[in-house]
Subunit: 300 residues, 2 copies
């Protein structure tokens, strides 16, 4: 197929070892994201969410010819956002997604699926976001305290979005939700609802109390059974570290300690499973005025 050559701006990207490619690859690292105020979005699904939900933040879009043909809406959305998509070779896309960074698993290398975007890191100040929430009426928040795995953070953001949560707050030393792996695991949900970072836990708990939002944490030793409780209308679920769960101090400070009933011989749930059960039980109890759109078990 002949096609008019892209008019590249500033210059064509032909080498996977060019500075430009390296700078985009470096966005796998938290420090480069902080320094530049940029983030990288890998894969058509997450890129589509960025371009539809946060068009103003999008800066650049790179597509292979194959991805361009398979996902024509990406080019359309980009142009609507004032961005001229650039067609690059598959090896360039792969090099942009390559990284030795710790928060970047080996599986990331192989699968940007021909689409990469660069965007401004969203403003994610936790106290501003908390202040912007309505003063009354039901609210669901998800607070992650020391959730370390970027894949888990993304999966949790996606589950929170699906369950209609209003805000995700990352407290303490959690993985950065703006790393490419977390963004991809969120399947674009990182751009659907406010996700904020850097909250110190004691201040956060105080601020939640001041906003009339009850804090609930899960514990295997709690008396209150999730399926027998009437959950508060304004509720923040706190989920803890993958290995240790919610720490004792936070559990003691929570308004509600809740036990997820287990019926088999499993000793515990992983953090994504626990959060899913809690968030969807919250949704179930509020069931009524919710959207009845697409659902299903699709996409990894």
């Amino acid at each position: 197929m002949t096609r008019l050559p892209e008019r590249p701006d500033p210059a064509p990207i032909t080498s996977p070892r060019s500075d430009r490619v390296r700078r985009i690859a470096a966005l796998s690292g938290r420090s480069a994201r902080r320094r530049t105020g940029l983030l990288r979005v890998d894969g058509p699904q997450a890129v589509r969410s960025l371009l539809s939900e946060r068009a103003a933040d999008a800066r650049e879009l790179f597509l292979t010819e194959t991805a361009d043909a398979a996902h024509p809406e990406l080019r359309e959305l980009a142009e609507r956002a004032g961005i001229r998509p650039r067609t690059v070779a598959e090896e360039i896309i792969r090099a942009m997604a390559r990284s030795d960074d710790a928060d970047h698993g080996a599986d990331d290398v192989a699968t940007p699926q021909g689409a990469i975007a660069v965007a401004a890191r969203p403003a994610d100040d936790w106290s501003t976001a908390l202040g912007a929430l309505p003063d009354s009426g039901p609210l669901t928040l998800l607070v992650l305290a020391e959730v370390r795995d970027p894949g888990n953070v993304g999966t949790l953001v996606r589950a929170a979005d699906a369950a209609g949560a209003d805000l995700v707050v990352l407290a303490r030393a959690s993985a950065d939700p703006w790393g490419p792996k977390a963004i991809r695991a969120s399947a674009g949900s990182a751009f659907h609802l406010p996700v904020v970072t850097g909250a110190p836990l004691p201040e956060l708990l105080e601020a939640l109390a001041a906003r009339g939002i009850a804090v609930a944490a899960t514990s295997g030793h709690a008396d209150a059974d999730l399926f027998e409780l009437e959950l508060p209308g304004r509720l923040a679920w706190v989920m803890g570290n993958e290995a240790r769960g919610v720490d004792e101090e936070t559990l003691a400070a929570a308004d509600l300690a809740v036990r997820i009933p287990l019926a088999g011989r499993a000793e515990s749930l992983n953090v994504a499973t626990a959060a899913t059960v809690c968030l969807f039980e919250t949704l179930r109890q509020r069931h009524g005025g919710i959207r009845t759109g697409a659902a299903g078990s699709a996409t990894p």
Copy 2:
């Protein structure tokens, strides 16, 4: 610390490149597991489940001194099972867990946490397992059709266990639940409840009907809302491929097509999240005679 040397049997393992180490590392691969009838269990948690729940299947146990000291119950359980644990160097454990196999992610290499067991692959004939289920009374099954990622398979087995499922059936080209990555993601649950493989989907659906077990599949287009349904007492949830969900043919053959309500802007759920919501809603509806043991958000 001086300690009496292990009396090794048949010979001490001193080289990470020895045949013995290589044979154990090879158990990362499905074909080696089939050929030998063995599987490898990595990490203290999964090893503990093997030794407590399927002691008769255990064949060998390798521990670093550190893991031996940190998890004294492993040695005790092994000896009760007639196995003499062998203390090996950290580099030997790492070499045993190393593999280039496709179902073996890079993260596996770093984290056997000083404990590896070798066990006989459990008998996992699906029709025998189905025949062994009680003829009446409530039942919950999870059927995985083309779930390809071993981590997802393990996570799903763990969620099924926690929600009190009676059986997990892997149909079609699903990942092998007996690979080390799936076993570890199951956090030992692979040894808690029957997990069977190799079921051809049409025969499986027929066999389920014959046992009076209703088949339910999720779809974004279904009329029936999960949270408004009274679920059948004998129920098999079918979950499909990570990218494509449940195929149309299976959906048409299912007794029940169910929509998981989504409240936010997420387009879909990942397969583990979808299964968790369905399995725990089933548990909630049957709530009453369930165990009220440990729960929580612990362990990755």
